[in-house]
């Protein structure tokens, strides 16, 4: 797939040199304004934003105890929408009270899954300021996904400015708690009302937000995973590395299979060697002593296109490398290696990493052995680990997100509203 993408890559590169030349001449113009030309074929603009304020009756009551909120059950008052069509490009972005979308029955999103999304969060720090966590990472991924999904591209910073505006309006929805946050869901759908399986000539960007509660109000809850290579999440030449809706639909039935075997999540394996790829909708990390006797944090690599490049994954890798306490490696890892390390008591921690809960400890793997066609129960000692690697990532990322305002412990990761 990278080869295919490189062929269209020029589309997303800004034409920089000409603009730089004009910047030199117009020194009095503020830098941001000459940074880009106004071109609605390329992006929507924050300055075109139209805001329709909610009437008092449209404003909803905020939940009393945000820590009890389940994921994705409560939504804030406003949503952002922005239409696009191939002829005019992007229309004006709008922020308006959340309402049902009018969608043509023939719209491609309802038939051919012409859709993609992002998941990101805004936090209220202990200084009462609202901040987003690395939003430019989500926007960069959303742009990559849009190209692969043949949906329109846009400018990250324009989108982040619009999101900021939304957060200003819905600021009371950002929970006043150091364990809760406001989940944000930017979504892009193909709305072209014709039935051909083809590039959509119409699209809609929308964003909804909602407060989410604490994942670990009673401490970490280790999860059990079903590992069965008869089910697959992604494959080479597919779209596993993109946050397209189509990657999720096939997993729901497998999730149900897992639940029927008392597993909360699926450990996605790939190929003959049963390589570990992802866990549920999170990236996977392993902390172990490798065969050479080195302490090592390991996660599968991105290059085969089987794995979503998670923002939390990237943050964990960066922090781990900065700390320099152990070796940090991105490499392919299979079930055989995991089983061997377990039997030799070299595997200390296994955890998922994602936006929803930062980290999620693995307590057990129910492994379907394809040779014997039997299930094997593998106990993972994450919770009993004396190294506290996962715990340190959780504390640090949580500190960056809500506690350590004022002290720059990670330059550029938090974006103030």
């Amino acid at each position: 797939m990278p080869a295919i993408l490189s062929r269209v890559a020029p589309r997303i590169n800004y034409v920089g040199s000409r603009l730089m030349a004009s910047a030199a001449r117009l020194e009095t113009v503020p830098r941001e304004e000459i940074h880009k030309e106004y071109d609605r074929k390329k992006t929507f603009y924050h300055k075109d934003l139209e805001i329709q304020l909610a009437s008092p009756s449209q404003l909803k009551t905020k939940p009393l105890d945000p820590t009890k909120l389940k994921f994705g059950h409560t939504y804030a008052d406003y949503m952002m929408t922005c239409d696009w069509d191939a002829e005019t490009g992007w229309h004006h972005p709008k922020i308006e009270p959340i309402a049902e979308l009018k969608i043509h029955p023939g719209a491609k999103v309802l038939h051919y899954a012409s859709e993609l999304f992002e998941g990101m969060k805004a936090y209220r720090g202990v200084d009462n300021k609202i901040r987003m966590f690395r939003p430019e990472m989500n926007m960069a991924r959303m742009k990559r996904t849009a190209i692969r999904a043949a949906l329109p591209d846009f400018d990250s910073e324009e989108m982040i400015s619009v999101l900021t505006e939304m957060l200003r309006l819905d600021q009371e929805w950002v929970p006043n708690s150091d364990v809760c946050s406001l989940y944000m869901r930017p979504t892009l759908i193909g709305t072209d009302p014709t039935l051909g399986v083809a590039v959509s000539t119409e699209a809609k960007m929308f964003v909804i937000t909602g407060p989410v509660g604490a994942y670990y109000s009673t401490g970490f809850q280790p999860v059990s995973l079903l590992a069965d290579s008869r089910f697959i999440r992604a494959f080479p030449g597919g779209v596993g590395a993109y946050k397209m809706g189509c990657n999720y639909a096939p997993t729901i039935w497998v999730g149900k299979e897992a639940a029927s075997k008392n597993c909360q999540q699926v450990l996605w394996l790939y190929g003959e060697n049963e390589d570990l790829t992802e866990v549920g909708t999170m990236n996977i990390f392993l902390f172990w002593k490798n065969e050479e006797g080195e302490m090592e944090l390991i996660t599968p690599p991105l290059h085969r296109g089987l794995i979503l490049p998670g923002v939390t994954r990237d943050s964990v890798l960066q922090l781990g490398r900065e700390w320099g306490e152990y070796k940090v490696t991105e490499r392919t890892l299979n079930m055989e290696e995991v089983k061997k390390a377990l039997s030799e008591k070299r595997l200390y921690e296994m955890f998922g990493a994602g936006t929803a809960c930062v980290v999620s400890p693995v307590g057990k793997i129910l492994y379907h052995n394809k040779v014997t066609d039997e299930y094997e129960e593998l106990q993972i000692p994450t919770m009993a680990s004396k190294y506290g690697v996962m715990q340190k990532f959780y504390n640090t990322i949580n500190d960056i997100q809500v506690r350590e305002y004022g002290r720059i412990i990670k330059d550029g990761w938090m974006r103030d509203i």
Binding site: A149, P236, G245
Partner: protein, 400 residues
């Protein structure tokens, strides 16, 4: 049938006064035709007079079926109502996690003035299999067919009176649960609408396919054999790549050995002299789970077996077998099959395999083949569609 229709008309009048009266008729195992509520559309669709201008899926009829489902209540009473936009909550699972399935089938206006639907029970059976894999609710095939009959009946005047066009029927089901958690949906919608449709391809020059193993449609352990929306989204970009190479569709190869599986959203067939020097019509088997078990595909296999002109096999073949056979002039015809396309000849396959350093253009003599099998199949299917040939078990007649 007349009797039910008048009952339905009466029901539609009463229903406009009491919108909530329908909730009492919820059913668990399937929606029921007997509970149908009809609201007629007063506006009429305008159509181009020239059937060649219709295109595919651009002009919709006046009515649609809309049925809601809820995990607690089961199926609500089905409605036929004026064709209109859905109101969908922005958090609905269908918009985020692609929880959606669909079908495609056609109704044809026959030479005898009867409207025939081609093997619709096979579509409904496949839709139910897709529903199960998507954790969407099951329904009864017969009830669905009765509702589709009724939808066609109401818009019967829109079924094109020409064998150059047909009424494309698009049943669909999607998850409407408004919670963002990834999981089974507690609500769903079953809907169906129709589109007045011309031909899908211009067949005059034959179809050109791009075969590039870097682009993969499905994989063992995935959902390639189900008509789920998620199988289509990744192919749109690939279709764009194909167009850049001046090809009409992608031909999907699978795995290290480059098995030939599908072309675009269609099944494929090859008429060749195989390695054992037998004349053989070959199509990849569906038990691999890599390709959609097409109804036109099944019909072509059944017809060809009936005709008994050659060996008919559902067997895998690889891209290298295909390329070698083309070079040795053993490939006589290569064609695609699908509801939208019927049977369409392939004239060219552009084979790019970067890993193996291959870049070759394979010319397929389909259109100049002596046997003209694709044309005979196209004609036979078309004759059955438009009632020139009687094959009652393949033709569901919509009583008007």
């Amino acid at each position: 049938m007349r009797k039910i229709s008048s009952v339905l008309l009466k029901r539609s009048i009463t229903s406009s006064f009491s919108h909530f009266s329908t909730t009492s008729s919820c059913t668990r195992s399937s929606f029921q035709y007997a509970n149908l509520v009809v609201e007629k559309n007063t506006k009429k669709q305008r159509l181009p007079s020239d059937p060649s201008k219709l295109g595919f899926g651009r002009y919709f009829s006046n009515h649609m079926i809309d049925i809601d489902w809820d995990v607690k209540e089961g199926w609500f009473a089905p409605k036929i109502k004026p064709f209109q936009n859905f109101a969908i909550h922005p958090a609905s699972k269908v918009l985020h996690y692609a929880q959606q399935i669909f079908e495609g089938l056609k109704a044809y206006y026959g030479v005898d003035g009867k409207i025939r639907v081609f093997r619709p029970e096979l579509n409904m059976e496949r839709m139910r299999r897709s529903a199960r894999r998507s954790t969407l609710p099951d329904f009864n095939t017969r009830e669905a067919l009765l509702l589709i009959d009724e939808l066609i009946r109401i818009d019967a005047d829109l079924v094109p009176k020409t064998d150059q066009a047909s009424l494309y029927i698009r049943p669909m089901m999607f998850a409407t649960d408004q919670h963002l958690g990834i999981g089974e949906s507690a609500q769903a919608k079953w809907a169906c609408f129709t589109a007045i449709t011309g031909s899908y391809f211009n067949y005059d020059r034959g179809i050109r396919l791009l075969a590039d193993p870097e682009m993969v449609r499905s994989w063992k352990g995935g959902v390639g054999q189900y008509k789920m929306g998620c199988n289509y989204a990744p192919t749109i970009f690939v279709g764009k790549m194909a167009a850049m190479h001046d090809c009409d569709q992608a031909m999907w190869l699978s795995g290290e050995d480059r098995l030939v599986t599908e072309a675009g959203a269609m099944n494929l067939f090859m008429l060749w002299t195989n390695e054992d020097n037998e004349l053989e019509l070959i199509t990849p088997p569906t038990d691999s789970g890599l390709l959609l078990p097409g109804i036109t595909r099944q019909s072509v296999v059944e017809l060809a077996k009936e005709w008994n002109l050659m060996k008919v096999s559902e067997t895998n073949f690889t891209m290298s077998q295909l390329a070698r056979a083309v070079q040795e002039k053993r490939v006589h015809e290569f064609f695609v099959s699908g509801t939208a396309a019927n049977v369409g000849p392939v004239s060219e396959i552009l084979h790019c395999d970067k890993e193996k350093g291959i870049m070759e253009k394979l010319l397929i003599p389909t259109m100049s083949s002596k046997m003209q099998l694709y044309k005979r199949l196209h004609t036979a299917l078309s004759d059955i569609h438009y009632g020139r040939i009687e094959k009652p078990e393949w033709q569901r007649i919509v009583e008007l």
